[in-house]
Symmetry: C2
Amino acid sequence: MKIAIAQLNPIIGNLAQNAENIIQAAHSAAQQNARLLLTPELSLCGYPPRDLLLNPAFVDAMAQQLELLATTIPPGIGVLVGTVECNPDAESKGEKPLYNSLAFLDDGKIQNITHKRLLPTYDVFDEDRYFEAGNVSNFITLPLDAAKENYLKIGLTICEDLWNDEDFWGHRNYEANPIRDLAQNQIHFIVNLSASPYSVSKQKLREEMLKSSATRYNMPILYANQVGGNDDLLFDGNSVVFNRQGEVVCRAKSFDTDLVTLEFDPEKQDFLPATIHPLPDCEEAEIWQALVMGTRDYARKCGFSQVVLGLSGGIDSALVSAIASAAFGPDNVLGVLMPSPYSSPHSLKDAHDLVANLGIHSQTLAIETAMQAYDTVLAPLFADTEFGVAEENIQSRIRGNLLMALANKFGYLLLTTGNKSEVAVGYCTLYGDMSGGLAVIADVPKTRVFALCRWLNRHEEVIPQNIIDKPPSAELKPDQIDQDSLPPYDILDDILYRIINRHQSSAQIIASGHDETVVKKVMRLVQRAEFKRRQAAPGLKITDRAFGTGWRMPIAARAWERL
Amino acid sequence: MKIAIAQLNPIIGNLAQNAENIIQAAHSAAQQNARLLLTPELSLCGYPPRDLLLNPAFVDAMAQQLELLATTIPPGIGVLVGTVECNPDAESKGEKPLYNSLAFLDDGKIQNITHKRLLPTYDVFDEDRYFEAGNVSNFITLPLDAAKENYLKIGLTICEDLWNDEDFWGHRNYEANPIRDLAQNQIHFIVNLSASPYSVSKQKLREEMLKSSATRYNMPILYANQVGGNDDLLFDGNSVVFNRQGEVVCRAKSFDTDLVTLEFDPEKQDFLPATIHPLPDCEEAEIWQALVMGTRDYARKCGFSQVVLGLSGGIDSALVSAIASAAFGPDNVLGVLMPSPYSSPHSLKDAHDLVANLGIHSQTLAIETAMQAYDTVLAPLFADTEFGVAEENIQSRIRGNLLMALANKFGYLLLTTGNKSEVAVGYCTLYGDMSGGLAVIADVPKTRVFALCRWLNRHEEVIPQNIIDKPPSAELKPDQIDQDSLPPYDILDDILYRIINRHQSSAQIIASGHDETVVKKVMRLVQRAEFKRRQAAPGLKITDRAFGTGWRMPIAARAWERL
C-alpha cells in the first residue's frame, strides 16, 4: 500500500487556497496510486493561525471548507487534513473552545476526527490559549486487500504528541504519552501531522528522537511537516519516515514544498526505502536556505515582489543583500548607499563591490544636506551640548526615512539588517537602522554572520573580502568601531547565548570564565534594550530562543541584578 | 480581629524594593493592631513577571527574598505574600515547573504555601506557560483568643480562583470551583490575592461577581488587588471587601496605593463596615485616572521624570499633553510644535492655546527645511511621480526624528499620541507619529478621545474648544481631513468595537445596520495594518481587548474575507 506525504506551504487564513493545494496534492498522490495522503498540522488554515481562532466566523468557515474538501478529494485516496474542531462541552465543563484536530477524509466524507493531546505552551507556542487537549489516541483502519480481510491500523498523532519520549529526554514533558498508548493498540505504524518550527540543527534532534521511538516500539513513524515562513517562524519541511529498525527510509526536501510517496509492505510489515533527500551539508548551508525561504515567503505572503535595503558597506547589509538576491533575483533588489561625512571611503567602495558581485540595483543618496537641515533647526536647542548619541541617531533615522520613502513610493518591502548581537544589547537605532518590514538576520549572532559570509564565499567571492576583514563600525562619528562600545564579538556572543538561549545567571557565566564587569554590563544592556526590541520588525527565527513571539519580557522592570 | 489589605504598586523584578514595601505595610498594619495583612498576587516580584520566570536564578532569588521577608515581618502580624514556588514533580510527572503561590508568613517563618488553581490563558494572560495548576484549596487558621480555644478559618485563593462562579456567568470557565470547595470546609471568610488588570467599568463587574459569590455562600470575601501600571497593563486597585450579606464594607482607593484595615466580629461572624472609597463618578473620570497613573508609572519605572511630545494642534496630542501634565506636572512636559507648509494657521494657534492652558513648556521647530532636503535628495528618483503617501510620511517621520533627537539629547521619554481608531486602520505613520516609548491613548477610540476632552472641560477650558470642534486632520497635504479617507468616527468606532472587542463577523456587523462596503473596507484595513501595530510602542490597556500583549494576530495572512 502506498502512502504519500504532502509537505505544504500554506498562507495563514487563506482557507480556499490552502484547500486547493491539498486537492492538487491529492490528485498527484492518487495518480501515483497512493491510498493515503498526509498533510501538515492545521494544513487547512496554516500554522500558527493565532488569534484568528478567536473569531467564530473563521472557525465556521474552516468547518465549511473541510466539508467541501471532503467532497472534492479524488476517489480512491484518503487524506489526513489538519483543522480545528469545536469542543461541544467547553461551556458545561469549563474547557477550552477548540481542539487542534486531524480529519480523515475518505470516500467523499469526513470519516473521523482526532484531537491533539499534547499542547505546547513554551517558547513561541500558545496552544492552551485556544485548545483543549484530547484525551485519547485514535487510529484509522484501511483494508489491505479488495476482499477487506486484512486491515492496516494506522495510529494518528499531531506534532507535539510525539515529543514526550521520556527515555529519550530523560524526563517527562507531559503527563500523557500518546505513542506508548498507540503502541499498546497493535497498530502497524504511526503518522504525525506536524508544524514544527525550524531552528539550527533541529532536524538532527527530531530524527534522533523519532529513531529512538521507532526502535523502542518497533514501529514505523511517518512525520509530515509544514514548510515555509509565516512571519517570524520558519518551517523547514524535512518530512521523514522511519522504518521499524529506526532507519530513515524517506525524507522530503528541506525548505521547499514536496510530495513524496512510499510503499508499505504488508509481508515485512514495514516501509520500503524510497526517496531520501539529503540534509543541507553544514549549518551555514541550512541557515542560508532558511533565511532565503523566510524572506521570500514573508514578502510573497504580504504581497511584495521587490525589496529595498540600505547598504552601509558593512557585513550585515552585505549578507542581507545576498539573501535578498537569492530570494527575489538580483533584479528585484535595490541597495541604497547613503554616505555621510563620517562614512569612510572604503565603505562606499565595499558597497559598490557588493552591488557588482550580486548584480543588484543601487542608488546613492547622500545624507549630508538632510543632516544640516536637522542641525539648523535643532541648533537653538542643542547649543552648548556635545555631539553624542542624539546626533548619531539622527543620521541613522535620516537613512531610515529615505528608505521608507522609497519603499512607500515604489511598493518595495524594506528589509532591515540588524543582527542578533546588536539587537540584544541595543546597539542599533529605533526608527533608524531598525526600520523595515522584516528583520532578516535578527536571530543571527554577529559571529554567525561572519561564518555565513565566509561560507558564501567558499567557491567565489560573493561578499567582498574587505567587508569580512575590516573591523565592524556603525560609522556614525569619526573613526568609530563597534569594539569601542562592546566587547569583542566572540566574547559577546558567548555571553549572549548563555543569557538568552540557556537562561544562565551572571554567576554561572562568570564561572565559565568570562569577566565579571563585562558580564554584568552585557546583562544590563540586554535588559535596557527591551524597549527597542518591543518595536522591532518581525525577525526570522533560527535558534531555539529568538527575540520575537517566544521572548516575553517586561520593559519597565528591574531584574538584571538578580539574574 | 483586624485584617489589613496592602494595595501595593510593585516594580516588576525588583524583589528587594517590593519586599521593603511589604515590610513597611506590615509595620503600618501592625501599628493598627491588624493580625493579618493581605498583599496582591505575586506581590514579591510584581505581576506580570513574564519570562523572568524562565530564569532559575530569578526564581531562586525570589525564594531567598521570601525567606528573608519571613524573618523581617514585625511580630504579631501574619502576612500573605504572592510568590512562586518550584514544582518538585515537574520532571517526573511532565508538569510545569512553577506554582503561582501565596505564602503565609507568620512568627518569623513561612508557615504555609498555597497554589493558584485556575490559570488564565486568555487575552493578556499566559499562565500555562509557567505554572502548574494547584489541585486543592487551602485555608489557614488564626486563634481568636489568647487561650487559643476559638479559631478563625480563612480560605485562601489567588485572583482567577474566584472567577468561576458558573451561576453568575451562566457557564463554567474552568473545571474546578475553588470557592465552592472552600465553602464546604466551614471557613469564616475567603481572601483573594489578585493582580486583576483594569478595563473600563471592570470594577462594577468584579463587585457584581463578588457580591453574587458572597451571597450564594453566605461568606465574606476580601479581594486585595495590585495597583499601578506595568508596561501596557494597568491595575486599578479598588481592593474591596464584601460581608456575608453581599454588601461592600470596605473599598481601597482607585488607581493609588493604599492600606485599609477592617474588623472581623466573631459574634456576628462578619466584617464590620470600614473605609469605603467611592469609585470614580463616570467612565471618563475612571479612564483619565487610569491613563495618568499608567503614564506616570511607565516613565517612573523606566527611570524617566520628564516627557516630550509633538503638538499638532489636534485633539489626540492635546489629550496626551493634558495626561502628561497631570502625571508629571506641567513643568516636566515639553510640547513641540512642528509646522509644515501644510499646517493650517489655526493648528498653531490651537497648539499655543493648549500650551497656555496647561502651562507646559513648548518649542517650535519648522520642518520645511528638512522637507526640502529630502525632496532634493529624492528628486532624481521621485521625478515623474505624484505627491502621495510617501511624501506625507516623510513629513511625519521628520517630526518623529526631531522628537527622538530631543528625547535622546535631554533624556525625555517621548510619548506617542495615536488613538485606537487610527492604530486599528493604520491611519498613522510607522517611525513617524508612531515613534515613542509609550502609546498613551492607543487603546482609546477616537470618539472616546472627544468624550474625555469634553469631560476635561467640564469646569473650565483645559482643551481649547476649537481643538474639539474642528474636523480632525493629519495636515499632511493641503485641505486634508480624516474623513476623506475614513468613515465618520462614530461609525468607524462602532465597527471597530464589533471587530476587535466582540469578534463579530462582517455578516453580523452588516446585519447590525452598517454599510457592507464600509464594513469590508474597515475589516481589510484592520488586517493590513497589522505590520504597523507589531512595531508600535506599548499602549496603555483600558478595554477588554487592546492591541498589545493580548492581541496575537499573524501579519502575513489573508483571512479578512472569511471574517
